[in-house]
Symmetry: C2
Subunit: 126 residues, 2 copies
DNA sequence: GACATATTGCAAGTCATTTGCAATAATGAG
DNA sequence: CTCATTATTGCAAATGACTTGCAATATGTC
């Protein structure tokens, strides 16, 4: 009879491996060229969708017209510093409960999530 | 002889009018359907690029895979509250100099710009 | 009004992402 | 282990947002 389940397949192993390898917000194109045709592009997209639905990755937007994906493992919630010169991405943690509380009080809006990314120049590029 | 200048043309009037009409972050598709084929889609894109270069509009990303444009007129720098149920967008102003200062101190990174948008439920949809 | 050139419209192209579908492979049953 | 069930993949084609090339057009100037 019908059983349902999620299978541990080659594409899923490989995408996970690629995300671990980069350990920063990574685009589909980067994953694809790292995996060098070992799996199909479409499978990368589908696997990333699955990882997102399973809450194993964060989707990050830097406004480049494409999505970036980051494993949710280590650190909890954090944001990014993106160097506009060298492209380097660093994580930054910040205390934001006050900010969120202020926003909710000021607006009567229930905040469920937010985007916060910083763009500028890293120490080396300044 | 050669004179250089920016011309005040029909497409530019119309795009400005559309942005004024919506007075919230507006997508190219919305502008286009509001203007109902009075100008070409390409011209909308080009006009918005021009307005952006001239620092007359802000480009806003809500992570939908497309850009939104907002006239820079009235308020200065502000962020948005986007209702995930009804799609309504409200502006919110906040004191963020401290946050930026903290980030720069903590990271030695020079912050030039940032994205900050909130998603959740507006008062009516909660 | 005529000219120089900034600007437009159209068609085609690009890039990221999605979808349909037949072929394939992972897992539970026997 | 073998088979059957069905989740999953690969491929090709489609979609959506946006860009580009270029000839046709419109604007501001003299």
């Amino acid at each position: 009879m019908a059983k349902i389940g999620i299978r541990y397949t080659k594409p899923r192993k490989l995408v996970f491996e690629a995300l671990t390898h980069f350990s920063k917000p990574t685009s589909v194109a980067e994953i694809n060229s790292y995996l060098k045709n070992r799996i199909n592009l479409t499978s990368i997209y589908r696997t990333l969708d699955l990882l997102k639905k399973s809450d194993l990755v964060n989707v990050i937007l830097f406004g480049e017209g494409k999505k970036r994906y980051e494993l949710k493992d280590k650190d909890e919630h954090h944001h990014h510093l993106v160097c506009e010169n060298c492209g380097d991405v660093k994580d930054i943690e910040m205390q934001e409960t006050n900010m969120l509380k202020n926003v909710e009080e000021q607006s009567k809006f229930k905040v469920l999530k937010h985007n916060l990314e910083f763009f500028g120049l890293c120490q080396d590029c300044q």
